[in-house]
Each structure stands twice: as C-alpha cells, then as structure tokens.
Symmetry: C2
Subunit: 541 residues, 2 copies
C-alpha cells in the first residue's frame, strides 16, 4: 500500500472544440506531474465539454474523439481519468470516462444514470451504461462514477460492496444558488454512510445560459472534507493520500462565499466566458441611470475590463436630469467609454411616419415602445459598426411579466440579469459598492424608486406591485410551481396574483425571443422552463 | 360476432385547455353516436393536446384530468378511446389511453415506447408502460397502442400474439414533407405482416412550430387501405366493420396532395391556428415587392381572410419602382389593407444620431441593418397600436446563413417560411398562382432576381451562391448532417461550402432570437436542431 497524490483538474472546456480541450488537458496533466501527482481527474465529458447538445449527434464526432485519444496517449507517467463520448460499435452512444496510463486505456466506464429533467437532456443523446468500473493502482482500489451516478444510492453502493476505497466522480454540475454547499453537505454524509473517500471534480466556466461553478472537493470516508476548491475559478488542486492514516490529508480550503457574492461572481464568469468564447472584442450597453444597467455595467467591467466596455446614455423627454447625471458619474467612476445620444429626432421621425396610420388614437404603450426600440436600434448600430456585443440589462422580474420591450431594451446577445429578480439586483448592487471605498454605482441609483422613464413621472410601481411582493409571487409560481390558489392562500391579494400569473403566461412569446442569460436559480427560463407559446392552460382553474 | 362502426376523431386540441378539449370531445362523441358509431377513437393525449411541454409538470394537472374524466363519463352508449396523462399513485406519470363506456373505465394503457429524439422529449415527462391493453367488444378483440408504439415491432407483435383483430392507434404525429405517405405505406405492410387491422387516428392542427396533419387512416389485415382522411382538416370519419367479411368496408378516400400543395396547406393551417389560438384579431406584414413577403401574404390571406390582413410597403432609396408597383398590385389583387410608409426620415435621423460615433467610417452592413430595423420598428408600432400579429417573412435559406437582420426583417411573432428553403418558396408561389385565373402574385415578383434592396443594385447572389446551389449545400449540412468533406465530395466548390457552413454555425445566435415558425422538414431549427451558441466545433475538421 502506497501513499499517492491526486490532482483535481477543475477545468473549463470550450464546448465543441476537442482539439483545444485536449491540448489544455495535456498541459494540466504535465502540470500535475510537476507536482508529483500520480492521478489526474478531469470533469465529465471533458474532451468535448458540457453540454455539447446536438453536436453530439454529428457523424464526425467519433473521428474527433479517436484523435483526442491519440493525443492524450502521449502523456506518460500519470493516470488520467477523463470524460469522453463513447460510440460503441452497436451504434449506442455513452457518456463515459476513460482511465488511461502511458497510452493504455485501463478501463472505460459508461454513465449509468442519465438526467433528463430540468436543464438536462441526456436521454436524447446517450444510452445507459450497466457496469461499474473498479481499478487498482498503487495498492489502492478506485471506483469511477459520473455526476448523476453519485446521487443514485444504488450506483454508489455497488462500489462500496466491491470494497472500493476511493471514488473518483467526474462532474458537469451546473450552478444554482446554494448548490455548491448542497453538494458537499450531502456527499459528505454519503461518504460516511458508505465508508468511501470521494474525489469530486466539477467543470468550471460559463456555457451559454449555464454556469459551472467548479467548487470541486475531496471528502474522506469519515466525512471529513479535506479539500474545497474555490468556485468559478479554473485551476488544478492537489490532495495527498497517506497510506498509514488511510485517508487524504487536509489541503486547500477556499473560504465559503456568501450568497450574494456567489451570485455576483457567477454572473461575472458567465459574462466573461460568453464574450470571450464568442470572440467579441468588447461589449456595449445602454446606461439609463437605473439600477439594472448600472449593475450590468459593473459586472461587465469586472468580467472583461473597463477598456473593453462601452456605455451609451440615450435620453428622451421623459429622462430625468438625475438619470443623466448618475449614468455619467458611474461611467466616469468605472472608467468605461461613454457617450450620450439623444433620441428625440428618431422618435419624432417614427411618430411622423406613423401619424397617417395612427390618426388621433390616444398614446399608449406603442409610443413607449418606440423610445425603447430607437435605443435598441442605436445600440445595434454601434454593435454592428464596431463589433462589440450588446449586453441586455433586463432582470427576471421584468422578463417574467413582460415589463420590457421586444426589440427595444431586450436587444442584445447576452442578458446578464435574466435570471436575477429585482430584489436581488438591489442586493448585488449594494454588494458591489461595498467592495470599494468609493462605490462604483452612485448611491442615488440604488435608493430612488425604479422607473422605465417612458412617460412623464412614470414609476415601475404604477404598473406592477412593489418588487418584494412581485418577486415573492413570481418565485412561488415559477420556482415552486404553486397554483393561483396556493399563492393566494399565503396571504397575497387575489387580484394581484391573478394579474401577475396572467402576465407570466402571456409573455412566453417575448421571453422566447430574448437573449440567453446566465442561470442562477432552480427554474430559469428557456432551457429549464419549456412552455408552449400557444397555450390554453388557465392558471386559475 | 357483430358488425360495428368506428369513428375516427381527427381532432385539433387546444394545448393546455382541458376544459375546451373535453367539451369538443363530448361533441364529437355525440356526433359519432348520431352516425350510429359504436366506438370513437381520439388522438394521443387528446385531453391536454400535444405537446403540452412543461404544463405536464404542473401540480394541478391531476385535478384537471380528474375533472375531464368526470365530464367524459357523462357520455353514454359509445365506447370512447382517448388519450390522457395518467398520474400514478407512485408519482410516475404516463402517456396513456383510456377505454371508457357509460362512465366506466374499461381499461387503461400506458405508452411503452417514448420518443426522445428529433422534436420529442417524452422521457422528460413520462415513465414507460410495460403492459399491453386488449379488450373485447361486440365479439371483436381490440388492442390499443400510442404513436411510437406502432413503430416498434415488438409492441405490435405482442398484440398479434394475443389474437387481437384490430389495433386502435392514438397518435400525435407531427407533419413533415412525405410523412403522411410514409405512415400509410409502412403501416399497411405491417398490418399485412401481422394480420391485424389498424385504425390510425392522428391529431390535426398547428401548435407553435409543429403541424399535425391528421391524415388518419384505416387499413385491413390484408393491407387494403379502406379509409384515408384528408390532411390538415379537423373532422370525424367513420368506417364500418363487416363481421361476415371480417374486414372494414371501403370508406372516405381523400385525394392525395402533391408535395407543394401539401406544404402550402400545412403552412396555411399552422398560420391560422397560431393567429387564432393566440387571440390576435389579424396580422400585419411588410410587403417588399419580393417573393418571400408575397408568398407570406398569400398564405396569411388563405389562413384568416383578406379582411384581417394588413400589408405595409416601406420603401427607401434602394427600393426599386418595380417593387412598389408589384407590392401595390399584389395587395390590390388580394384585397388586403395596404399602406406605404417611406423610411427616409427615420433612417436619416438614425444616421445623424450615430454620426458622432461613426465618424467617417465607411458604410457597411450597419447602414443596411438600420433600414431593416426602421421597418421592423414601424411594423411593431402598428402591431402595438392595433393589435395585429406581425408575420415575419424570412425563409430557411436566409435564416440558415444569417442573411437577415435581427430586430429588423426578423421581427414578428410567427415566421411563416422559417422552414422553407428559397427554392421551395418559388415553387409555392407558382403553385398559389396556378390556383386562380388571375395569379395573385404578380409574375414579375417570381421571375426577377431576388434582392434585399438594402444598397444600390444589390442582388442576393452578390453575397450568396445561387439558391439552387445554396439550398443543396444547406440540405446536406442541416437535414443530412453531412460534413464539409462529404459535401465537397458531391461536387460543390470547397470555398463555397466552407463559407456556407461557417455562416450556418455562426448564426445560431440570430436564429435563437427569431420567431418560431412551422416545421415542414425533417430538421427544423430550434426545437429539433439544438446547437450551443458558444461553440468551438470546427466544421472543417
């Protein structure tokens, strides 16, 4: 029996780019060797990245995977455990892990439990495996599991019964609030219960709307957590097994983040990866003087640097002087490129052109939408001309009830706050301000009542219930799937609940055309909440 | 042994609206009784409609289903076979069929084969059944299957071994070109092979991007097709079983449609159902003088009537006089509301506002997009003011390569030609013109070279290969999943193929924000082709 060292590659793959991923994996393996590691463990499906969606169905994938294996085979003197797509001769496709040493494949494991709920569609792509994988190395007995497997008691028990000492778990487990803590708390109990050491390695990085937080960890069979990697950071972490003590030695312990800091960092990572991996030189956004765009700007700057961020204020008749001042001030404090473009002439030209059609019909949301669409078109013009990605600034409360303009403030390629309720937007803004002596977001942006400023003296609360009430109703309906009557029975006003739920249902068409944005909740729109647009379901029944 | 009569309810459910569906089902059952039918068969999941997506996860569904059963139980003197969501006490949810007579449930069948590929996600919602259902009525032995089951030989054989005489198959089988014919041809062979009569009842109607064509049929055990219901039409069809002859008597035979007529009718149905079930009073679209908007206009008129259709021509400097003439002429011929709105002042105001930012940078696609977005905003303004749905007019060739402007010509709630390649657009326009002595689409719209008219003397073919070449490459890449090298080896130019595939890959973000539109192919965008936006896959490898 020997002591040994395991490296956890908390790796951020580029989805679909097997060549780049393999190259990086080889680099990490060599780095691990320099640290005298005996084994390196990569995340689930590390060669292609997660989720690769219908790229998994492309016929050339097996050729690409074969070429990945050839390259990985050149790494010597370390055991590599990595994820790949296993295309069997039968035609079946598996979500698999390979154990490779000195170019030899010592074993292959096919994932047994395929999640097909929430954001997962693994049964669209993969067949289920039916066999465990156990291997001995340096006198130690290892088992291998992939993500959902470790949450399935029978699959872990299978390994315990075979006297496995340490289970290597390859994961691509997406972030949601509280999930990093939940994994550790639950799996340390499991480790104790089954008397197994667990080495949990998670993918890190933003991929479209999903954020992988990493937060890899190692727990001993007695339930002691010996390694906790930081969240949202790509790196290699090491842990040593002491044969005498029959356990892993205490190693890195990243300090736990509080919820708001965790969400903030998640959004920064998601934004950075989206922008950089899409190849944009920078971003542009409309800065209104309101809190959503203020927070989005701060996140953008923290994600890619002030020199790559352009903000534009686009005032109209209903824009208050305060808004212009605050936007200007924030742009200055953050050091981003800033410009002002008045939209009066544009809105007027639309109004004049539409006059023969509109006649004397009274003003309504149409005229408000024209302002928003003039701004959206200006942002897209600047984006088209200089190549920067437009960040959309709407929050989850607005998108839920459709308090936003399609092709107006909804334009953009990435909606940073898409899954963030307005009440959390406030918390995030305060958190960001707390990080520096001079708050980057002017205090007034946080304290004044929210307004879309699309008509005189407009306040959000003229059209919507107060945000604490609105968000509570939305959370109950969206995240908790509660019915109209359930929610009313919690003490909310019947008319308000009926109105809010009706708005959520009616605005599916708007959300469907909105930009993607990072998922931080347990029920994000689009990939996770799949509602028909044409839909006769009546919430009240 | 008795003779008996079966009614096939080629039914168009309103997805999610169980109350309305059940009421209509009761009406159809009563109508069948008046025709002396002994049995009425409804489509798959007829109570809630298909696909109900995440509405299937709502906790109140079981209560709603129970109430549907109560109402259906009031129907007497006819056997009803209908689809419903069966929520077992174990918590498992099944895609099921009930056999009900005089308020008694004679049997329940849980679908055994759950499709989870292409447009289907049934494993997200349902557990697999493991038992057949056979029932005797009027001395005849019936079996029940649901959709995918009848394409799974073992499931049908199971019934044959039990000496079932007639299999009632409940379906929600979405349309694609050639599918109606394929079903009949394949299943009549199966009927012969297993010596079973098949009664195949399919849902009809548009549901978001899916079209259900109906085209229900009955085939005798000798392979003789005795009933062929028309496609795209909701109705009740009847077939009589003659005990003496031990077979069904010949009944309705709708004439077969040729491919182009079939596609045209599919698009009309999809448009009508989307508009009407979303509750829009009418539609509006931009009429450019080009063939895409001309065809979209014709489909809209055929779907909901000229009195509910508004067309707007929005000329700019690069709009030819021919375009204005042809658009005006078509609007007149079709009898729709028509208006002209020049966009010069709007485009100028955008250019002036952007000038301080653009400086003297040369004109590029930015300026073209401004024209398209001015038009999009005008259409949305008219839509907001009067409530009509904007129909988007882009075709599949354009959307594939991104030859369209996000928030410009892409605005709209329903993209009628989204899954129709440009070469088919021409065929459809000619087909529509062939239906009347005076062609509704001016001949010149079909014969002149396509142009977006966004810069002087622009032709589509300046930027794209000729449409027959483009569409062939797109079809190979999208529908057939061929690789770059596969396509080149068919004789296409390497540079052109590389360019086209690159454009398809890069424009996923644009398509993701586009309107939904009816699926007619075997690989439509969105629900069926799920690609990551951030994506490092290189087609050329």
């Amino acid at each position: 029996m020997n002591s040994f060292k395991v490296s956890l590659a908390q790796f951020s793959p580029f989805v679909g780019n097997l060549e780049a991923n393999v190259q990086r994996m080889i680099g990490l393996a060599n780095e691990a060797k320099q640290q005298n590691a005996n084994i390196i463990v990569f995340p689930e499906l590390s060669t292609i990245g997660y989720p690769a969606e219908d790229l998994l169905l492309r016929p050339s994938l097996s050729k690409r995977t074969a070429s990945a294996f050839e390259k990985l085979a050149e790494v010597k003197d370390i055991v590599m455990v990595f994820g790949f797509v296993n295309q069997a001769d039968s035609g079946a496709r598996y979500n698999s892990a390979a154990v490779m040493k000195d170019g030899q494949v010592l074993g292959i494991y096919n994932k047994q439990n395929l999640p097909n709920y929430s954001v997962f569609d693994e049964k669209r792509y993969f067949a289920e495996g039916h066999q465990h994988l156990v291997f001995e190395y340096l006198g130690h007995k290892f088992g291998v599991l992939i993500c959902e497997d470790v949450w399935t008691l029978e699959s872990v028990q299978q390994l315990a019964k075979l006297n496995v000492e340490t289970v290597l778990v390859l994961n691509a487990s997406p972030y949601e609030v509280g999930k990093p803590q939940h994994r550790v708390v639950t799996l340390k109990e499991l480790a104790k219960q089954l008397n197994l050491n667990l080495v949990y390695v998670n993918q890190v990085g933003g991929q479209d709307d999903l954020i992988f937080d990493g937060t890899s960890f190692v727990v001993n069979a007695n339930g002691e957590v010996v390694l906790e990697a930081p969240s949202f950071k790509e790196d290699l972490f090491h842990v040593e097994y002491e044969a005498e003590l029959k356990s892993f030695k205490a190693a890195t312990k990243a300090p736990a983040l509080d919820t708001i800091a965790e969400i903030y960092q998640a959004l920064v990572l998601a934004t950075r990866d989206y922008v950089q991996r899409s190849g944009f030189p920078g971003v542009i956004l409309g800065l209104s003087g309101g809190i959503d765009s203020a927070l989005t700007l701060a996140i953008a700057v923290d994600a890619i640097g002030a020199d790559k961020v352009q903000a534009v204020m686009m005032p109209y008749t209903y824009t208050s002087q305060i808004s212009v001042e605050d936007a200007t001030e924030q742009a200055k404090r953050m050091g981003v490129t800033f410009g002002i473009a008045e939209i009066h002439p544009i809105v007027n030209s639309f109004m004049q052109t539409l006059h023969p059609f509109f006649g004397n019909s009274p003003a309504d949301a149409t005229e408000e939408n024209l302002q928003a669409r003039a701004r959206g078109t200006l942002l897209m013009g600047l984006s088209n001309k200089f190549g920067n990605l437009v960040l959309s600034t709407g929050n989850k409360s607005e998108l839920s009830v459709g308090y936003c303009t399609l092709y107006g403030d909804m334009v953009g390629g990435f909606a940073v706050l898409k899954d963030v309720y307005k009440t959390i937007v406030f918390e995030l803004a305060k958190y960001r301000n707390s990080l520096e002596d001079t708050p980057v977001i002017p205090e007034r942006v946080i304290t004044r009542p929210p307004s879309a400023e699309l008509r005189p003296d407009q306040k959000d609360q003229d059209s919507l219930p107060p945000y604490d009430v609105l968000d509570a109703i939305l959370y109950a309906y969206i995240e908790e799937d509660q019915s109209l009557e359930d929610i009313i029975s919690k003490g909310f006003d019947r008319d308000i609940v009926t109105k809010v739920i009706g708005l959520v249902d009616r605005n599916e068409y708007k959300r469907r055309q909105g930009a993607i944005g990072p998922r931080i909740s347990s029920r994000a729109f689009s990939r996770e909440r799949r509602y028909p647009i044409v839909n006769g379901w009546k919430a009240g029944v």
